[in-house]
Structures are given as structure tokens and as C-alpha cells.
Amino acid sequence: MRFLARRLGFYLLTAWAAITLNFLIPRLMPGDPVELLVARMKGNVEPEAIDAMRRAFGISDANLWQQYLDYLGNLARGELGRSITFFPTEVSTVIADSLPWTVGLVGVATLISYLIGTSLGVLMAWKRGTWLDGVLPAATFMHAVPYFWVALALVFVFGVTLQWFPVSRAYGLDVMPGMTGEFAASVLYHAALPAITIVIASMADRILGMRNVMVTTLGEDYVVMAEAKGLTSRRVMWAYAARNAILPNITSFALSLGFVVGGSVLTEIVFSYPGIGSMLLKGVENEDFPLMQGIFLVISLAVLVANFLADLAYVVLDPRTRQESE
């Protein structure tokens, strides 16, 4: 528990750092979202209207400290401001609309990738010297492939050439969102390729990480002992070796979530998935800093929460942490 309290403290500190960073970055950087907007709206806006708009977007000239306090205050009330791109939609609304898609897609895909990757890693370590070693070079290769390239390749093969899967959007044009089976089926069908992308691109890390730890674990005395005890291979492999090997992998998995989220941003963009990644890019392109800040904050907090969950899992899985701290 002490361990968790300590971690919680750390996460709070990190969250504060993320929030502050979030506040500072757009203010330390040059650029003016309104000018951009006008530039993009070629001719639809008279330049004379800029000032009024600036006011509407809540761009303030107050001193930095005051702005920071206001920002924290708003945040405490859950207000993230209004998006500039989607003015006057609240950033929180934009996020609320897009987050479920990302959480669903990335969450499920990551879970799948973690399960498959970990199992494969365990198996590969266990069956060293067999044909399974052949997966290794493939995994090495996949480990270094950019997410978006995988996405592009999948689109090319399964979307454009074979036309098995839809290559964009989150559900079909002919269904309306609702709690219907039709809608659910459409969502799953549309999520197939992006999910496969994330699974493929992030699985290699899990395989390699798990394999390495597992190989080391397999050399430990307690595994040899378990084998000597005449336990079944399955039991030795999972209850003794994998169970221990997973521990160091939990933390690295949690930390790698940041990368997965990053990668899925790219994936979402390729697949026009209406998730948080597409929104982030939109925000960046438009220098829509309320939106960017909001999204970055949400992503950071999500990763923090995931890390905290991983810590929890660690505590549950590793009796040693329950007593001593770290």
C-alpha cells in the first residue's frame, strides 16, 4: 500500500507537470490561431473581423501567471475551453465525442496485442531452438515498422486490392449510431483494419520483451526446480516462468502505452478514424491550442492512469511489493 501511495504521489506530480507543460507550450511558442483561421478561410472572412474573433476565442492578453491560475481554475471545474477549429464547440465535447472511439480501438487492440504478444514471447522462449525461432526475425522487422506504413500496406492489400474491409471511418454510412446489433457489427467491421494495424505494429515489442525476460527467467533456479518437481510443462511454463517473467514486463508495458497511443494517432489518421488522434492532428494543424491542450492532457492522464493500473497489477501479482516498498 505504501508503495501505491508513493506511486500515486508521483502520478499526481506528473499530472501536474503535464498540465503545466500543457499550459506553457502554446504560450511560449509563436503563432496566432486566428490569423491561421483567416488564412485558411481564404476570402470568407474579412481581415477586419480578426480582432472580434480573437475575443470570441478567449485569447487573452493577461499576464502569464494570471492566465495560469485561470487555466488551473477552469481545469478544476472541468472546463477545457472552446475549440477554435470547431468553434464554439467545447473542447470537452470534442474529446467526449472522439475519446470513446480511441479508447475502444486502442484499448481492445492493445489488449489483444498484449495477450498474443506475451503468449508468443513465452512460447518462443520456451521452445527455443525450434521452428518458433523463425518468428524472431519477423518480430524484429515488425518492431521497426512505422505504424502508418503498416496501416497503408493493410489498406492497400485488404482495402483497395481485395476489398475485404472498409478502409475508413468508424461505421458504415448506412447505419445510425445506437444500441443496435447492426451498428455494433458495423463498428467491429470498420475497426478491423485499424485494430490489426495496432496489433501488428505493437505486438513485436511485446514478443521480444517477453521473450528476453522469459529466457532469463527460464534459467532461474526455481524454474529448474519446478521442472525437477515433475510438474507438467504447461504448469512450469505459465505458473512459474511466465508468471515471474511478466512482472518486469508489466511496467514496460505500461510505459510503452505512450508509444502505442502515439502510434495509434498515426493509425487513426490513415483510417480516418474519428478518434482523438485525428482531432489532435486537426488541432495541431490549426494551432487550436485549447483543443491540443485538452487532447494532450487527456492522453497524458490516460497513460498515467494506465500506468497506475499497471502498478496495481504489479502489486497484485508480486507478493514482494505488498510488504516492502519498491
Binding site: 533456479d221 526455481y222 521442472e227 525437477a228 508468471r243 515471474n244 507478493p319
Partner: protein, 345 residues
């Protein structure tokens, strides 16, 4: 009489720079109910031998020759090296159990001691009820001096001595005929070590299993074992009863080892030690591997590989082996009238 017979066992570690002959032509008998001590310097192949017998070798280790035969109580002989997977699983722990050097490392850190005993019972005695298994676990732990409530403790919550005891309790779970103990007390204090040695002896009296006790501490072996085998560079160079070895070591290496230990009691003896360093197993000196360090080496020693035989003389010639004790022992040394073979290469 013999519960385990090892014949001409050879084990190599294969590597790119050539095979390491970690165990070469080892023949040993383990008698029912005895404690056989196995001593030798670090790297002499003790653990490798033990693991080979328990079929625990992993690549790159490979058994290159020999056989290991286990005799059941009912007289049937089992070729250990030829056991199939299922047979092997049954053989392990029911017939032969292992206790490793460091109990911290040989207990699964994420499950309780009780669960680790339970694990064995569940696999090997599937008919036992959960209740019975729990009772048995408590009984075993109490037998080695751990209170019943420690059943729910994780290994890290136990002290070193308790862990070692727990490991022994696990080994006892199925009343095996043979327990191999690979340096079970090296990591412990002398006082705790002493306690555990007592425990082992007492348990042996009670259950009647045979023990292969591996350590590099010869004086410890002399106290606990019935018979002792000394290994050097992958070969057994001398065997004999503890007493005979203590009184009249016949191989110069055994003598050297004995004379390397300072004694606590009695007069201060001069310590001899052994000059030089242990050989590289990849390129052993020809002939007797010990000859470069042997003060009494002869010409022949560098060309002829001595075989393990019942020798007649101790290295000092004068001491001689007397009667029954000596007759029981074997030595691989040309000085002892031992026969040798001409080195092939």
C-alpha cells in the same frame, strides 16, 4: 543394494570455442539410504553431474556417453536417461528430488511455500483431497521445523535458513528414494548450517532416503557423509568412506584439499594447499589432469590417463589402506598402482 548406478557418464557443454567436457567417464554408485558426499573445486563438474542424473541438463549441455540406472525398491531397474517425458515426470520427485544451493532462487517468489508443496502433491498424487494436501504440507513443514502458519508465507518473508528448510520439505513431499542436494548450505551461516545438517541426518534416519550431498567444503562432507567422491576436472579421482578419506587420502589432490583446511581443534598443522590453478576444461593437460599441480607427478602422469581402481597405497606409500575401509574405496592415480590408459590424442 545400490539405488543409483552411474556408469561412464559424460557430459559436454557445446560452444563455439569447442566442447567443454564438464563430466567425463564418471562411474558412481549410490547405496540405499546412504549419504554420498561429492566434493571438488568450483567448476569440477559436480552440479553438472547432479543435473545429468536428474535429467535437468539444458542445452548447450548434452550427455555424450554412459548410463544412469535407478533401482526401485521392488527391484526393477529404470534407465533414467531413456525415460520418456511422462515417465520422467513420475520419476522426478517421487523417486528422486533435488534441493538447490540457494533456496531463495529455487523457490518461486510469487507463490507461497504451502502452494509450492501443494503443487507437487496435486500433480503426483491426484487422488489426495485438498484437505489432505493441506495437512500434508503442514506436516512436512513442521517436520523441518517451520511452524504451520508459515505455510502462507512467501519465500521473501522467510529467513535464509527457513527457506532452505522449506526447500527440503518440498523435496520430502513424496518420500523419494534419492535426494540430490547441490550445495544446500553454502549460502548459510555456520550455526544455521549446523542446524540444517542435523535436520538432514535426522530425516534420513526417519525416512531412509539416500542423499547425494554436493559441496566444496570437504571438512563438512567428512562430518555428514557416509562415503565421499572427489571430483577433479570432470572426473572422479577418488572415492571412499568418509573416515578412510579423512585418515588416509590416497589421491594427491584429496590430500591437498584436506591440507588446505585450517583446523579448529587439535594442534596447528601445517597447511599445504595446492599450487597452481584449476585447469581449463576446454584444453585439459594430457594424461592425469592434475599432474601440473601435483608435487609427486611422474613422467608417466603426463601421458597416461589413470583409471579409477581399487588402489593399494596411499600417496605417501607408508600410510597404506588398511582392511575393509580401503577396500571400499577407489582411486584414479598412477601412484597408487592405479592403472592408466595411454592417451589417444
Amino acid at each position: 543394494m545400490n539405488v543409483l548406478e552411474i556408469r561412464d557418464l559424460g557430459v559436454d557443454y557445446l560452444s563455439q570455442t569447442g566442447a567443454v567436457h564438464a563430466v567425463a567417464d564418471v562411474s558412481l554408485d549410490l547405496r540405499r539410504g546412504e549419504i554420498l558426499g561429492l566434493a571438488g573445486e568450483s567448476g569440477s563438474g559436480k552440479s553438472t553431474l547432479a543435473n545429468a542424473v536428474a535429467r535437468l541438463l539444458r542445452p548447450p549441455a548434452a550427455i555424450t556417453s554412459g548410463s544412469v540406472v535407478y533401482h526401485r525398491q521392488d527391484g526393477t531397474a529404470v534407465d533414467v536417461l531413456a525415460l520418456k517425458r511422462d515417465e520422467l515426470r513420475a520419476f522426478r520427485w517421487k523417486e528422486l528430488a533435488v534441493v538447490f544451493q540457494s533456496a531463495m532462487n529455487s523457490l518461486n517468489p510469487v507463490s507461497t511455500v504451502g502452494a509450492q508443496i501443494d503443487d507437487v502433491l496435486r500433480i503426483h498424487a491426484p487422488k489426495m483431497s485438498r484437505q489432505d494436501r493441506a495437512e500434508r504440507a503442514v506436516e512436512l513443514l513442521q517436520r523441518v521445523g517451520i511452524s504451520a502458519d508459515r505455510r502462507r508465507s512467501y519465500p521473501h518473508e522467510l529467513s535464509g535458513g527457513m527457506r532452505q528448510r522449506a526447500a527440503i520439505a518440498i523435496a520430502l513431499a513424496l518420500n523419494p528414494e534419492v535426494i540430490i542436494m547441490d550445495e544446500p548450505t553454502t549460502a548459510l551461516d555456520v550455526v544455521v548450517q549446523r542446524d540444517i545438517l542435523h535436520e538432514i541426518r535426522a530425516l534420513r534416519e526417519e525416512y531412509g532416503f539416500a542423499v547425494v550431498f554436493i559441496t566444496h567444503d570437504l571438512s563438512l562432507l567428512m562430518e555428514i557423509s557416509d562415503r565421499i567422491a572427489i571430483m577433479y576436472a570432470g572426473r572422479v579421482v577418488e572415492t571412499g568412506t568418509a573416515e578412510a578419506l579423512h585418515r588416509a587420502p590416497r589421491h594427491p589432490y584429496t590430500l591437498g584439499l584436506l591440507r588446505s583446511f585450517p583446523r579448529l581443534h587439535g594442534p596447528r598443522e601445517e597447511l599445504l594447499g595446492i599450487p597452481g590453478t584449476p585447469p581449463d576444461l576446454r584444453s585439459l593437460p594430457p594424461g592425469c589432469a592434475f599432474h601440473p599441480r601435483c608435487g609427486r607427478a611422474m613422467e608417466e602422469c603426463s601421458t597416461r590417463l589413470p583409471l579409477l581402481t581399487r588402489g593399494t597405497d596411499g600417496p605417501d606409500g607408508a600410510d597404506g589402506a588398511d582392511g575393509a575401509d580401503g577396500a571400499d574405496g577407489e582411486v584414479a592415480c598412477l601412484l597408487n598402482g592405479g592403472r592408466g590408459v595411454e592417451e589417444a590424442s
